[in-house]
């Protein structure tokens, strides 16, 4: 992530993508999908941390971006069919 300056993809952009994904995750009303998106983005970013090859970085980036688009669309769809009852895991926190 840190060494991707050559291909025009900077650390800051990676962080921006990460934050966008996490923010989109927060929009889901369904606990399960929300937690999954969070987990998956963190795991995905951690997995690709050490990439140095610019083309690999670029492909990981574009994959992340497409996933972000998917997540955004799904957030809207899920909100239409939001469950009335809160998930038990959410109730435990309070």
């Amino acid at each position: 992530m840190a060494s991707a300056v050559g291909s025009g993809l900077s650390r800051a952009e990676a962080f921006s993508l990460l934050r966008s994904l996490l923010r989109t995750a927060a929009k889901f009303s369904d606990y399960n999908i929300r937690e999954y998106v969070r987990r998956r983005t963190i795991d995905g970013f951690r997995e690709n941390r050490g990439l140095t090859d610019p083309s690999a970085i670029a492909s990981a980036f574009s994959e992340g971006r497409s996933q972000l688009e998917i997540a955004k669309r799904q957030a809207v769809v899920y909100s239409i069919y939001a469950p009335q009852v809160k998930n038990i895991m959410e109730l435990n926190a309070s």
């Binding site: 650390r11 800051a12 962080f15 921006s16 934050r19 996490l22 923010r23 927060a26 963190i42 951690r46």
Partner: protein, 140 residues
């Protein structure tokens, strides 16, 4: 005047603001000086501010909450002491963890942190100060 934790001056009706970070903060000095305003006394004695929008170092409860969130995020053992001065990197957090912590704080306090501000946070105290600033801005 530089010996306090982050202080900012907001005066009603003015668009200028001054941010001063004290020596206890992370190495890179981050002094953003727009200009000093007329109320000299409040810039030299921030702790005794009488101006309504003046900020002081974060409340202990805020620091407590931030510490709790950091501990949970980094899965620290309960014996590990987290204070205002603890740096995230020293506690074993990498940049991803820092982003996660900031997101967790956003959710907990209902605030929105700017992209570049999020990158600048290195200690618990800085996070708490920024939270206070954003919360007071949001409720004002």
């Amino acid at each position: 005047m530089a010996s306090l934790a982050a202080t900012s001056v907001f005066l009603p009706g003015r668009t200028r603001s001054v941010s001063l970070h004290g020596q206890g903060m992370a190495g890179a000095s981050q002094i953003r000086l727009a200009s000093f305003t007329h109320q000299r006394r409040s810039t030299f004695f921030p702790g005794q501010a009488s101006a309504p929008r003046f900020e002081s170092p974060a409340k202990p409860e805020t620091v407590e909450k931030v510490c709790a969130i950091v501990k949970k995020q980094l899965a620290l053992a309960s014996e590990v002491v987290v204070t205002g001065e603890s740096e995230f990197t020293k506690l074993g957090a990498d940049s991803l963890d820092t982003v996660e912590i900031v997101m967790g704080l956003e959710e907990e306090f209902g605030i929105n942190v700017e992209e570049d501000n999020a990158q600048r946070i290195t200690t618990v105290q800085e996070a708490a100060d920024m939270i206070e600033k954003l919360v007071s801005k949001g409720s004002a």
